[in-house]
Amino acid sequence: MGSAEQISQLAVDGLMVGALYAVIALGYTLVYGVLQLINFAHSEVFMLGAFGGLFACRALVPGDGATPAGLAAAGLVLVGLVAGAAAGGAAAYTLERCAYRPLRRRGAPRLAYLISAIGASLFAFNLAGKEFGRQSVPVPDLFANRTVVTVLGAEISTQSLVIAATALLMLLAVDHLVADTRLGLSIRAVAQDAECAGLMGVDVQRVIVVTFVLGGLLAGAGGFLYAMTFNASYTMGFVPGIKAFTAAVLGGIGNVRGAVLGGLLLGLVESFGGYLFDASYKNVIAFTVLVGVLLVRPSGLLGTRLGRPA
C-alpha cells in the first residue's frame, strides 16, 4: 500500500465517522441553541435509537442467514432508520418530559439541569443494559458489504456509502428546516430570546419539545447507522456522545452548520491522529481538541448562535 492510498483511506474513514458525529452533534447544538443547556443525556438517546433500529431490523430480516439484496436491502435500511429515529425521538421526548420539564417549571438553576441529565443518562443506559443484555449486539447484515468505488486508492464500501449518503441527507434536511421553515423560524426566535419569542406568540414550551424530539430523531437514526458498523451495546453512547459534543463546540455550539463542520473535522483529526500516534489516544485527542477549543476559542470555528446567519 502506498502512502497516498493510506491518506485517502484515512480521510474517507474519518469523514464517515465524522458525518455520524455531525448527526449527533446537531442534537446538542439545537438543544443548546434553544435552552442554553448541554443535554448530557443525549448520548443515551443515541444508544436507544440504535437499539430501536436494530430490533426492528432483526424482526424483519429472514432468519435463514441469507443477505437481503436490492430493494429488500434498501427497504430494511429505511426501516432501521425510521425505527431508530422513532425510538430516539421518543426517548428524547421522555427525557425532556421527565428530567427537564419539572425543573424548568420550577425555574431551577443550571446546575440542576446538568445533574438531572447525568442521572437520567445513568438510569437510561443501565436500564438498557438490564433489558437488552450487556453484550454487544450486531445489526443483522442488511446488504452484502463490499467495496463499491475506489477513490484515490481508498476503498469505499457499500456501508460507508449508505452511512455517508444518509447522514448528508439528514444534515441538509435539518439545515433547510432551521433556515427556511416556519418551525425553524420559531426555533431561531426562541434561541435568540425566549422571553421575547414567548411574548410574540411563539409557544416556547412546544418549540422546546420539538427541538428535543428533532435532536432525538437525528440521534436515533445516527445511532442505527453507527450500530451498523460498530455494533450496539448499552454503553455505546458515552464516547460518541462526548465526541459529538466536541464537534458541536468545535464548530460553534448553537450553530447548525458549525456542528457539521466540527463533526467532519473531528472525524478527520481522529482518524489521522489515531494512525500517527497511538490509537489508544483517540479519545485523548478528542478531549484535547475539546479543552483546547474551549480555552482558546469558546465560540468555536463558526462561532455564531443558532438563528443568526452563519
Binding site: 474513514d13 442467514g65 494512525y275 497511538d278 489508544s280
Partner: protein, 402 residues
C-alpha cells in the same frame, strides 16, 4: 415560631404534593427487589453440609464468563449431591465481584465470614484475584481459580491459591509456535487491549516469536469501538498475521474492520475471545476463518467429556458448557475429592493442606499441582471458525507435526 418558609409557586399543588414520591418510589423499589428474592433453603436429611464458595462476575460487562464458571460449579455440586456414598452434602454460596478488583475484598470477605465454608472456587478474573487473595491467605481459606491466567499470580506469595488453568505464558508460547510453524507467518502484528490479561499474553507471544525468529510489531489499544484506523495501520505494516490479545467484543470489531478493508491475512486471538459471541458480533461472514488459541479443550467436542456435557445440560436446562465451565467443574471436583478423603471432620486448614497433593483426572486435563499452585502441564488447543461454528482443530503440538 413561624411557618416554615416555602416558596410560592404558580402550581403549588402539584409540585408540593409530588414531594414524598421520591421516598415512596425508593421504598417500592426496595420491596419489589425483596420480592424477587426467593425463599430460604431447605435442609437435606441428616447429612453434614459443607459450603463451597464461588467468587466471580455474575453481573456486569463480563458476566458471561462468570456465569459459565458458576454453572460448572453447580453441575459438579448437583452431581456430587446425587452421590449417596458421600458422607456430606454440598451447597454453593456465590459472591459477585463483577470482575472488578475493588469489589474483590468485599466479595471475598463475605465468603470468609461464613464458618461452614470449606473452600472457594474462584476468583474468576485476575484483577479481583490480586485484591482478594491476601484475605483468603490470611483466613487460611483455600481458593481454586478456574480461569485467572495472569502469570504473576502464583508468584505473589499467596499461601492458599491454586488454579486449574495454565498461565498465559504457556498459551503465549504455544500461540507463538503455532504462528511460526503452522500459519507460517512472515510478519506478525501483535496487538493487545492494554488490560492486565492482554499485556501478559502479548508479552508471552512476543517472547516466543523472538525465539522463533519471526519479526513482529507490537501495539496496544484500549478497548474501543472504532478500529478502522487501527486496521489501516495493520495493513500498512504488511503483517500477514494479526494476533489480538484481548476479549471477544473488541476482537469481533477488529475482525470486522480488518475484513471490511479486505485484509486477507490470518487473524487470531486467545482464550478471552473463545466464545460464540465473537462470531455473532463480528458477523458470520467476517468471522469465517478466524483462529483462537485456548489452553482449554472444548468439552462439547471432546468425547471423554461427553458425560460432563450431558450432566451440564441436565443441570443447566439445556445450556451447553461455555469457556471455563469445565475448569470450574474440575476445580469443584478436586475440592470434593479432598473433602471425601477428610470425611465429616474437615476444616479449612486440613482442606488447604491436603489440596496441594490432589492428583485426579479432570474433564479438561489431569489435575495435579506445582508447589506454587499452578496446574502441571497443559495443552493449548486451536479453534477455528468454520461455517459459522467454532470448531477445534486440535492441540498445537499435534498441529505442528504434519
Amino acid at each position: 415560631m413561624t411557618a416554615t418558609p416555602r416558596p410560592l409557586r404558580t402550581r403549588p399543588a402539584r409540585t408540593v404534593a409530588l414531594r414524598p414520591m421520591a421516598a415512596l418510589v425508593a421504598g417500592f423499589a426496595l420491596v419489589g427487589a425483596a420480592l424477587t428474592a426467593c425463599g430460604g433453603d431447605s435442609d437435606d436429611g441428616g447429612k453434614k453440609e459443607y459450603l463451597i464458595g464461588f467468587q466471580g462476575p455474575l453481573s456486569g460487562d463480563s458476566q458471561q464468563l462468570g456465569i459459565n464458571a458458576y454453572n460448572g460449579v453447580l453441575t459438579a455440586v448437583e452431581q456430587l449431591n446425587g452421590d449417596k456414598s458421600l458422607p456430606f452434602t454440598l451447597r454453593i454460596v456465590a459472591s459477585d465481584d463483577q470482575g472488578l478488583p475493588e469489589q474483590g475484598p468485599t466479595a471475598a470477605q463475605k465468603l470468609i465470614d461464613n464458618p461452614k465454608l470449606m473452600a472457594v472456587v474462584g476468583p474468576v478474573f485476575s484483577g479481583p484475584t490480586k485484591s482478594s487473595e491476601p484475605l483468603y491467605s490470611q483466613a487460611g481459606l483455600l481458593s481454586v481459580s478456574p480461569s485467572a491466567t495472569n502469570p504473576a499470580l502464583t508468584d505473589l506469595g499467596f499461601t492458599s491459591f491454586y488454579r486449574v488453568i495454565a498461565p498465559d505464558t504457556v498459551q503465549g508460547a504455544a500461540a507463538a509456535e503455532f504462528l511460526a510453524k503452522v500459519v507460517k507467518a512472515k510478519r506478525v502484528y501483535s496487538l493487545d487491549d492494554r488490560s492486565e490479561y492482554g499485556t501478559g499474553l502479548s508479552g508471552a507471544i512476543e517472547r516466543g516469536l523472538e525465539q522463533a525468529d519471526v519479526p513482529f510489531t507490537h501495539d496496544g489499544i484500549n478497548p474501543t469501538k472504532d478500529y478502522t484506523s487501527q486496521a489501516t495501520k495493520i495493513m500498512a505494516d504488511g503483517a500477514d498475521a494479526v494476533y489480538y490479545s484481548g476479549y471477544y467484543p473488541e476482537y469481533a470489531l477488529l475482525t470486522k474492520a480488518l475484513r471490511g478493508k479486505g485484509y486477507d491475512g490470518a487473524i487470531l486471538s486467545g482464550d478471552g475471545s473463545n466464545d460464540d459471541q465473537f462470531i455473532r458480533q463480528a458477523g458470520t461472514a467476517n468471522a469465517e476463518g478466524a483462529l483462537i488459541t485456548c489452553p482449554c479443550s472444548d468439552a462439547n467436542t471432546d468425547p471423554s467429556a461427553a458425560a460432563f456435557v450431558a450432566e451440564y445440560k441436565k443441570v443447566n436446562s439445556g445450556l451447553k458448557p461455555g469457556t471455563y465451565s469445565g475448569e470450574a467443574y474440575d476445580a469443584t471436583n478436586a475440592i470434593a475429592s479432598v473433602l471425601r478423603k477428610l470425611g465429616t471432620d474437615a476444616n479449612r486448614e486440613s482442606v488447604r493442606t491436603a489440596f496441594g497433593s490432589v492428583d485426579m483426572p479432570g474433564v479438561t486435563k489431569r489435575i495435579k499441582f506445582e508447589r506454587n499452585g499452578d496446574v502441571q502441564g497443559s495443552t493449548v488447543y486451536v479453534y477455528q471458525v468454520k461455517d459459522g461454528q467454532r470448531t477445534v482443530l486440535g492441540p498445537v503440538s499435534s498441529l505442528i507435526k504434519p
